[in-house]
Amino acid sequence: MSKPQHAHGDVRSKSFVDYLNDENVRAVLYQVIAIGLIILAGWYLVSNTLNNLEKQNISTGYGFLDLEASFEIGESMIDYSAKSDYATALLVGLLNTVKVSVLGIILCTLIGTIFGVARLSSNWIVRKLATAYVETFRNIPVLLQLFFWYALIPSAFPHPRDALEPLPGVLLTSRGMYLPVPVADNAYTLMGIAAIIALVVILFVKSWAKKRQDATGQPFPMFLAGLGIFVGFVFLAYLIGGAPTEMSIPALKGFNIRGGYNISPEFLAVLIGLTVYTSTYVAEVVRSGIQAVPNGQWEAADSLGVRRSVALRKVILPQSMRVAIPPLTNQYLNLTKNSSLAVAVGYPDLVSVSNTTMNQTGQAIEAISIFMSIYLGLSLLTSLFMNWFNKKMALVER
């Protein structure tokens, strides 16, 4: 009965039920309710926690970061001593996490690509070995692998007294690996700055060369020019810095080895463990990426008389990259997050340093909030970079 009236829309005004049945009103309503519940739950948790902490006489806040840490850290990329504050200690942990993650990502990509390609090799032995590698290390929990490498290094290598010297100046011992490095000098800082300036100059030259080639068709030997600019800048900085030649060479002094750069067994165990474990996943990503490229692409390259290795590099891999980037991003994120397992073998990563901080200060919530937001930040940064890379590589189909 009300229907014709409704259609005319002049008699009956909308009731409350009519509003509830309106799709737009509903959509907003649901969201308001959901957000309200989340805020309520959050407020309940936070107020409860604060209440309980107050009862236990634990002060909250991030003031503890300025206090003296008074604990040593096994290895650090920046100046650190027990007299430094907690903020510096956490920064040391963060840098150690970033160091092992970045190196792990680079190495697992290289090794994973090699094994991924090898799994598709026409050579029976190569194919089977690659399969065995992937199936073995993919199926053992990464924490156990870290334990394994950490147990292996001290027992596989000799005491510093009888250090192995595979290359002149490079020592292998149960306390890790020692490399000869130049003694710190301002010239090296200068060289680093020069390298960055050179890269910027190269970018400018590259865009100029591209513009010129588009306009006149004249090609520019960008690789040689780039190499020249880079080497020239860095070498010039070296000369300006006074061309230091003094090296710090590791040698046995007393009971331990002094000098050189020490790569600790903890770091090696974490790096090898994470790299090996993640590289098996990368290998599978690369293999599936290659198999996703139609066979016709191989055949077309073959019909042109080029070798299979050329076809792989120039035709197949660039196309499999597109399929591989999103799952590769997942693996990079996993590696970064798995680096928190380093605490198990005593590598002073962010979690390890945070643990010590928590034990000493009792500021568990603050410390956890710091390292959780740092991991979130690192992961988002990785995602951001990979999304940009994915967009660059993506195929624009028309």
Partner: protein, 272 residues
């Protein structure tokens, strides 16, 4: 029914394929195929799907190694080619693939002159110049050189494929269904363009087609394949109406002839 083409050809054979056989496991894809063509002649290969046409073509270009028989090109036994001679053989044969098989990671000009760049027979600027010249031959604008194949429509991709196939000025041009998926007007255009290029350069053309009319009107010779064997071969000018009807029925799978699925799974005589 089978008769070698060379018997009717006055010139000596430029391509001589003898008893070529290719197996995939139990299935014999190409079964003792003979093929003889003089330089500059054109041949249409016709036959129902899964007859072995594409496999034969891929054997000719060297993608598949033959399991038996020989392929002579201008007197050289190319089936015995060593790896180091492979680019040389490949440069004498150009092939257009059914799905074009262009490399969409590369620009159009890099596609066309891929082998010149990768085998080092041309530097990049010469290769680009050469590619632009070829683009002109197949009716594409110079500006398209810097695009990628995916910027193109199907017909334009086909033209790029042809440009790549003729980039070394080959003696032999192999075309796997050059007009598949194109509208009739574009098909005719592409067919005429190929004929013109081939005539100018004295290229021997072997083309797979499913169109009996195109095969009869545009090609000098015709070879019908069926279940890997040569079912009929000869001059297109010798095909009379009754013969044409028989071959067309054969092509459509409605002949009384012994047509079964090659996998042996279906027995109703219908081709998938």
């Amino acid at each position: 029914m089978t008769q070698p083409i060379s018997a009717t050809s006055a010139q000596p054979a430029f391509i001589a394929v003898n008893k070529l056989t290719k197996r995939f496991g139990q299935m014999v894809a190409v079964d003792a195929v003979d093929l003889h063509l003089a330089k500059g002649e054109t041949l249409a290969i016709i036959g129902p799907s899964a007859a072995g046409k594409s496999v034969l073509m891929k054997c000719l270009v060297g993608i598949y190694g033959a399991d038996g028989g020989s392929i002579y090109l201008d007197g050289d036994d190319v089936s015995q080619t060593s790896a180091s001679m492979r680019p040389e053989w490949a440069s004498r044969i150009g092939m257009l693939f059914q799905q074009n098989a262009l490399f969409d990671s590369l620009k159009v000009w890099e596609n066309i002159c891929f082998r010149q760049i990768e085998l080092g027979t041309m530097n990049r600027s010469d290769a680009k110049e050469h590619a632009i010249h070829l683009l002109g031959l197949v009716g594409l604008a110079t500006e398209s050189a810097d695009l990628t194949p995916n910027d193109f429509s199907g017909g334009m991709q086909k033209r790029v494929g042809i440009a790549r196939a003729i980039s070394t000025n080959p003696d032999i041009l192999l075309l796997d269904n050059p007009t598949a998926g194109l509208d009739p007007v574009l098909s005719t255009h592409i067919e005429l363009m190929i004929a013109k290029i081939a005539q100018q350069q004295g290229t021997t053309v072997i083309s797979i087609t499913n169109d009996m009319h195109i095969a009869r009107t545009r090609y000098q010779n015709l070879m019908m394949m069926h279940e890997g064997k040569v079912y009929w071969s000869g001059k297109t000018s010798e095909i009379d109406d009754a013969h044409n009807e028989h071959l067309t029925q054969m092509l459509n799978g409605s002949s009384k002839g012994p047509i079964t699925m090659r996998t042996g799974k279906r027995e109703d005589g219908v081709f998938a």
